[in-house]
């Protein structure tokens, strides 16, 4: 149910050590990534609380990306271990009250993966475009 001319707003939480550096490198290399992405830099993906993701949706995000270091590469050794446990639970929970879980995704992108950063954000933006605005699903 895509909407004509719809440009989604996507909040992307990125960890300081991997994904944010990867996104930075994408810019330095002049790789084009979608302007729909609103980056929020956090020190670790383990710092991203479920409350923060919910607030992003509440503040008008049509999709939320949670991005961090690959497992084993965490700057704080096991910060992203919390993320990998927490986010699937939140994804399920959103689906239980009727929010399409596809609107939220957990992806690992390292500092050396600038092309992957572009590919992931492009694919996610395309997916959210096809899903349409969140307000279509959640109205008060």
């Amino acid at each position: 149910m895509g909407v004509e001319g719809f440009e989604p707003r996507i909040v992307a939480f990125m960890c300081n050590w991997c994904t944010y550096a990867g996104a930075d490198n994408a810019g330095v290399a002049r790789l084009e990534s979608p302007a729909n992405i609103l980056p929020i830099r956090v020190m670790c993906s383990g710092r991203i609380s479920p409350e923060a993701v919910m607030r992003a949706f509440r503040a008008g995000a049509d999709g939320v990306l949670v991005m961090g270091c690959h497992i084993g590469d965490c700057h704080y050794a096991a910060g992203n271990h919390r993320t990998i446990k927490r986010m699937p639970l939140l994804r399920n929970l959103l689906s239980y009250v009727g929010v399409n879980p596809e609107r939220m995704e957990l992806v690992w992108v390292s500092a050396a993966e600038a092309p992957r950063f572009v590919q992931v954000t492009k694919a996610f933006t395309q997916k959210i475009k096809e899903l349409g605005p969140l307000s279509q699903e959640v109205t008060e």
Partner: protein, 275 residues
């Protein structure tokens, strides 16, 4: 209904442990249980010499909260609690999180009736420390859980929208919950829940609690009993209980040795293989 003999047996068990402290080497300072009051029943700390004919066991009430308060206020006090299966599960999750000192709490457990188990959809209507009564079969799973789980997204959304619209934001679900003891509550944090909205903001208010219940909810159903708007909260919490068991093999209230997995590394508590 609980049979009169069950109640008599519990009173006797309490009297033995309270008035003859040499038995099993207990030396208890008191027993936390319900007591008859003009309004029905109320939580009470029974001490040596008290009239135990006033001790009651129904309706159920989360007594572990009172134990926690007493343990914190009196650092050497030794207590016993007259506990149902859910009280024991609540105690287990609280002890792991340093809310109750397991070395200073003795469980006088009794079995719920088959009717209670059915009404509460109780997965385990008896404590491991079963002193009085015979363990009944577990209650059935809440049929609403399977029903809403099978619904398409749009229908779920419609259902929960209607349910959450009824919310009075009284915080009754949180206040009664034996596992809700944070000093700073995310449901009162203006960063997550804007003040002044009624019904409270979706999806934050109710989903924050549901998310926090994932590794904690012991299925005591107190939140649902307390809710003046009759929101079927435990449907969500049952789904979270199922999910955390699927994901991490963790069942809240089952094992006092099992640490809460969400704050552990993958080495300490690995993900289960995808089923």
């Amino acid at each position: 209904m609980m049979s009169a003999s069950t109640l008599d047996e519990i009173r006797k068990a309490v009297a033995e442990r309270l008035n003859e402290p040499s038995k099993e080497g207990l030396r208890l300072d008191g027993v936390v249980a319900l007591r008859k009051s003009s309004q029905g029943v109320a939580p009470h700390l029974f001490q040596k010499g008290d009239d135990l004919s006033e001790l009651e066991i129904a309706p159920k009430y989360p007594l572990t909260t009172l134990v926690s308060k007493l343990h914190k206020r009196y650092p050497t006090i030794k207590l016993a609690i007259v506990a149902r299966g859910c009280d024991e599960r609540a105690y287990i999750e609280m002890a792991k999180r340093n809310q109750i000192d397991p070395d200073r709490l003795y469980i006088i457990g009794f079995a719920c009736t088959a009717e209670d188990a059915q009404e509460c959809y109780c997965p385990e209507p008896f404590p491991k420390n079963l002193v009085v009564g015979v363990a009944p079969a577990p209650g059935p799973a809440n049929p609403l859980v399977a029903k809403y789980d099978a619904m398409p997204l749009a229908e779920r959304r419609e259902f929960w929208k209607q349910q959450f619209l009824k919310c009075l934001k009284c915080y009754g679900c949180r206040n009664i919950c034996p596992e809700c003891f944070c000093e700073a509550c995310a449901m009162e944090d203006m960063a997550w829940v804007e003040p002044g909205l009624l019904a409270p903001p979706f999806p934050t208010f109710h989903l924050i609690r549901a998310m926090h219940m994932a590794s904690r909810c012991v299925a005591c159903r107190e939140c649902e009993h307390a809710c003046p708007a009759h929101i079927p909260l435990t449907v969500l919490y049952d789904l979270m209980r199922r999910d955390i068991n699927d994901l991490l093999g963790y069942l809240p209230g089952a094992d006092i040795q099992a640490k809460p997995p969400l704050s552990l590394s993958l080495e300490q508590s690995p993900l289960r293989e995808a089923r």
